[in-house]
C-alpha cells in the first residue's frame, strides 16, 4: 500500500490566449493558467480524489496525466519513470498502463460501434490477443468483471441500447481490457441516474480491489468523494489548496475554500427548509487568465487580511500528519 505509483511535481498547463495588438508589439503573451503548479503523489491501490468547481483545472490535470495534453512545465513520474517526455514506444507502453473513464459514457463510445467493437478497439490498437476468438474471450472476461452478465448478450448491442449504468460498466470494461494499473476516472457517475450511481461506484470499487488498481477520481461532488475515495485534494484556480484523507478534509476542514464547499453541500435531511444556508464565501470565481496576486483565494475569502494579498502565495504545509493546507491563517480561523 505504501509504494508510490504516480508522482506529480509542480505540473503546469498554460494555454495561450489571443493577444491584443498592443501586446503583440511589446512581445507580451497572455496565458490561461489552467493548471498552475500542482504536486501530489498517489500510492498503489489508493483512490485519490481531485475535487473542485468547474474551471479549477481538475479535468486538465487528468488529461495531462493521460497525455491527452502536453504539460507546460513540471514532471509526471509513473512507477519511478519520468513520463513527461516519452518516445512513441514509451507512450504506447504508458497508455497501456494508464486508462481513463470519461464523464459521459455514451459520448465516450462511438455510437456506430457495437460493444464488441468498443471492447476490441484497445486490443487492436495495442496488438494484443491472437486472433478474433482470443480477443472476444478477453472481452467477455472483462464484461464479467464489471458484472455485465451474460456477456454474450451485450457484445452485439450498440451503446444506445444500454442504460446509463450499463454504459459506464462497458466504459470501465474497456479500460480494464488492457489490464492497466492506474485509472483516471473523470466524473464517472455525474451523468448517471441517482438510483444506479451507487451501483456503478460499488462496481468500480470491487474492480479496484479485485485487480489492485489505483484510481484518480476527479469530481465536483464531495458527497460521492467522501464515500468513494481514500484521500482528497481540493483544487482552486489551478492549484491544490488542501489535501488529506477524506475524513480529514470533511471532518477537520482547514482551508476557507474547502469550508465553503462543504457548507454548500445539500443533504437529504429534514428540517432545513426554512433556513437560509450560510456559505462562507463571497464573489465569483475569477478567470484563470487573471489570477489574483498573493493567495489566489483572497478576493473571495471572508477571513482575508492584507498579509494574504501582500505576501507571497502560501505553499502547502502539513497541519497534521498527512493533512496539507495552503493557507497562512488556518490556525487563526478555526
Amino acid at each position: 500500500m505504501s509504494e508510490v505509483i504516480l508522482e506529480v511535481k509542480d505540473l503546469k498547463k498554460w494555454f495561450p490566449v489571443r493577444r491584443r495588438i498592443s501586446q503583440l508589439f511589446k512581445g507580451e503573451k497572455s496565458w490561461v493558467r489552467a493548471v498552475d503548479g500542482v504536486s501530489f503523489s498517489i500510492k498503489k491501490g489508493e483512490i485519490f480524489g481531485l475535487i473542485g468547481e468547474s474551471g479549477c483545472g481538475k479535468t486538465t490535470t487528468g488529461k495531462l496525466l493521460m497525455k491527452l495534453l502536453e504539460s507546460t512545465a513540471g514532471q509526471i513520474i509513473f512507477q519511478g519513470e519520468d513520463v513527461t517526455n516519452l518516445t512513441p514506444e514509451g507512450i504506447s507502453r504508458y497508455k497501456r498502463e494508464i486508462q481513463m473513464i470519461f464523464q459521459d459514457p455514451y459520448a465516450s463510445m462511438n455510437p456506430r460501434f457495437k460493444i464488441r467493437d468498443v471492447l476490441l478497439e484497445p486490443l487492436i490498437i495495442h496488438k494484443l490477443g491472437a486472433g478474433l476468438e482470443e480477443r472476444i474471450s478477453m472481452a467477455t472476461e472483462v464484461l464479467e468483471e464489471v458484472k455485465m452478465t451474460p456477456p454474450i448478450e451485450f457484445l452485439d448491442r450498440y451503446p444506445h441500447m444500454l442504460s446509463g449504468g450499463q454504459r459506464q460498466r462497458v466504459a470501465t470494461a474497456r479500460t480494464l481490457i488492457l489490464s492497466p494499473t492506474f485509472i483516471v476516472a473523470d466524473e464517472p457517475v455525474s451523468m448517471i441516474d441517482l438510483s444506479t450511481r451507487a451501483e456503478v461506484l460499488q462496481m468500480m470499487k470491487e474492480v479496484q480491489q479485485d485487480l489492485n488498481l489505483t484510481y484518480l477520481y476527479i469530481t465536483h461532488d464531495l458527497s460521492t468523494a467522501r464515500y468513494f475515495t481514500d484521500r482528497i485534494a481540493v483544487m482552486y484556480l489551478g492549484k491544490i489548496v488542501e489535501m488529506g484523507s477524506a475524513d480529514q478534509i470533511v471532518d477537520n476542514t482547514l482551508h476557507p475554500y474547502s469550508r465553503a464547499l462543504i457548507a454548500a453541500v445539500c443533504e437529504p435531511v429534514t428540517g432545513k427548509v426554512n433556513l437560509i444556508k450560510e456559505v462562507p464565501i463571497k464573489g465569483e470565481i475569477p478567470s484563470a487568465a487573471n489570477i489574483p496576486a498573493g493567495c489566489r483565494f483572497h478576493p473571495r475569502c471572508i477571513f482575508a487580511k492584507p498579509e494574504c494579498w501582500e505576501l507571497e502565495e502560501p505553499g502547502l504545509e502539513e497541519a497534521e500528519p498527512g493533512h496539507l493546507v495552503a493557507c497562512r491563517r488556518y490556525q487563526e480561523i478555526v
Binding site: D221, S223, V250, A264, V265, P268, V273, I276, K277, I285
Partner: protein
C-alpha cells in the same frame, strides 16, 4: 393556507408511432399558496412532462388527454390557447426550464432580451418596463450593470438568476423550476437555493421544484411528490419523507439510500437495481414491483391506489397499507 393549484386526474400521453406513451398517468395533487412542492424521480419518470403539462404546453407528440388543472379557481384546460397565452402562461404560472440559462441569445444584451419578453406580454413604455426589470434584477440579487452585458460575460450563476428574474417579472403566482441547480457548482447551487427561499418569503410565491436530487429537495421543498413511471408513488411533507420515523414508499427509500451523505461515513451505498420501465408497456400491477426489494404477490397483479396513510401523507404501496 389556501390552495393555489389543484390538479385532478391529469393525463398526458405521447402519441408515438409505436403507441401512446403515458408520460403523466392519472396524477392528482395540490399546491398550497406560499409553499414549495418538490417533484423528484429518476430521469424519464415524467417530472418535466408534468411541468409542461401544468403550463398546458406539452411538447409534441404529447397531448393532455384528461383531467383538470385548477389554477386560482378556474380550470385552465377549459381555456383556449389564446386565453391561456393572455391570462395564464407566464402571467399566473411560469417555468424556469432546464438549461434555460444556456439558451440566452448571445447577440443581445440582457436588458434587450428581458425588455423584449416583457413587452411581448404587456403594453408598457420603455421606462416602466425598465423599472420593473431593475426591480426584479434586484430581487434576484444582481446589480443593474449586468443589464448592459452580454450572456457570455456572465457566470452560470448570474445567468440562472437572470432566467429566474425573467420568469418572475410578469408577477406569476406559481413558478415551476425544472432542475434549476443541476448544471451549477455547489457553491452557486447553494446560493440559488437561498435565493428561491428568499423569493418565496418576500413575494409569497409558490414553487414547484423539479429535480432528481433528493438532497437538494430536502433543503427547498415543504412537501415532496415522488414520481415513478408517470405516476405518483408518494406525496408527503418534508418531515414525513426525510424524517427518521414512519413509513415511506420503498422507491423513496431506495432513492434515499442511494443518495450519498457528506457528513456521515457510509460503508456501502444502496442502489435500486434495474431501470425504470418502458412507459409504452408499463408492467401490470404496481409499476415498481420489478425493482422492489419488498415485493409481494399482490404487487404484480393489482395496482395500489394512492392512499392517505396519515395526514398529508399519501403512498401507493400495498406493503404500506395496514391490512
Amino acid at each position: 393556507m389556501g390552495r393555489i393549484l389543484e390538479v385532478n386526474n391529469l393525463k398526458l400521453y405521447y402519441y408515438t408511432a409505436r403507441g401512446p406513451v403515458r408520460g403523466v398517468d392519472d396524477i392528482s395533487f395540490h399546491l398550497n399558496k406560499g409553499e414549495t412542492l418538490g417533484v423528484v424521480g429518476e430521469s424519464g419518470c415524467g417530472k418535466t412532462t408534468l411541468g409542461t403539462a401544468l403550463l398546458n404546453m406539452p411538447s409534441p407528440p404529447g397531448r393532455i388527454v384528461g383531467g383538470e388543472i385548477v389554477l386560482a379557481g378556474s380550470d385552465i384546460l377549459q381555456l383556449n390557447e389564446k386565453q391561456i397565452r393572455q391570462q395564464i402562461r407566464w402571467e399566473k404560472i411560469s417555468m424556469v426550464f432546464q438549461g434555460a440559462m444556456n439558451c440566452l441569445t448571445p447577440v443581445y444584451t440582457i436588458e434587450k432580451q428581458m425588455l423584449e419578453t416583457l413587452q411581448e406580454h404587456r403594453e408598457m413604455d420603455e421606462a416602466a418596463a425598465g423599472e420593473r426589470i431593475r426591480k426584479y434584477i434586484a430581487y434576484v440579487g444582481l446589480s443593474d450593470d449586468v443589464l448592459r452585458r452580454y450572456p457570455h460575460e456572465l457566470s452560470g450563476g448570474m445567468k440562472q438568476r437572470i432566467v429566474i428574474a425573467t420568469a418572475l417579472f410578469l408577477e406569476p403566482e406559481v413558478v415551476i423550476c425544472d432542475e434549476p441547480t443541476t448544471a451549477l457548482d455547489v457553491v452557486v447551487q447553494a446560493q440559488i437555493i437561498n435565493l428561491l427561499k428568499e423569493l418565496k418569503e418576500q413575494l409569497g410565491l409558490s414553487f414547484i421544484f423539479i429535480t432528481h436530487d433528493l438532497a437538494t429537495e430536502a433543503e427547498v421543498a415543504d412537501r415532496i411528490l415522488v414520481m415513478y413511471a408517470g405516476k405518483i408513488a408518494e406525496i408527503g411533507t418534508n418531515q414525513q419523507i426525510y424524517g427518521q420515523e414512519g413509513q415511506i414508499h420503498p422507491y423513496t427509500r431506495g432513492l434515499l439510500g442511494a443518495t450519498p451523505r457528506l457528513r456521515e461515513k457510509v460503508a456501502k451505498l444502496d442502489f435500486i437495481p434495474g431501470t425504470p420501465p418502458n412507459l409504452l408497456h408499463p408492467p401490470a400491477g404496481c409499476r415498481f414491483h420489478l425493482r422492489c426489494p419488498v415485493v409481494m404477490e399482490r404487487c404484480s397483479v393489482e395496482e395500489p391506489p394512492l392512499k392517505e396513510i396519515e395526514a398529508e401523507h399519501k403512498i401507493a404501496c400495498w406493503r404500506c397499507f395496514d391490512e
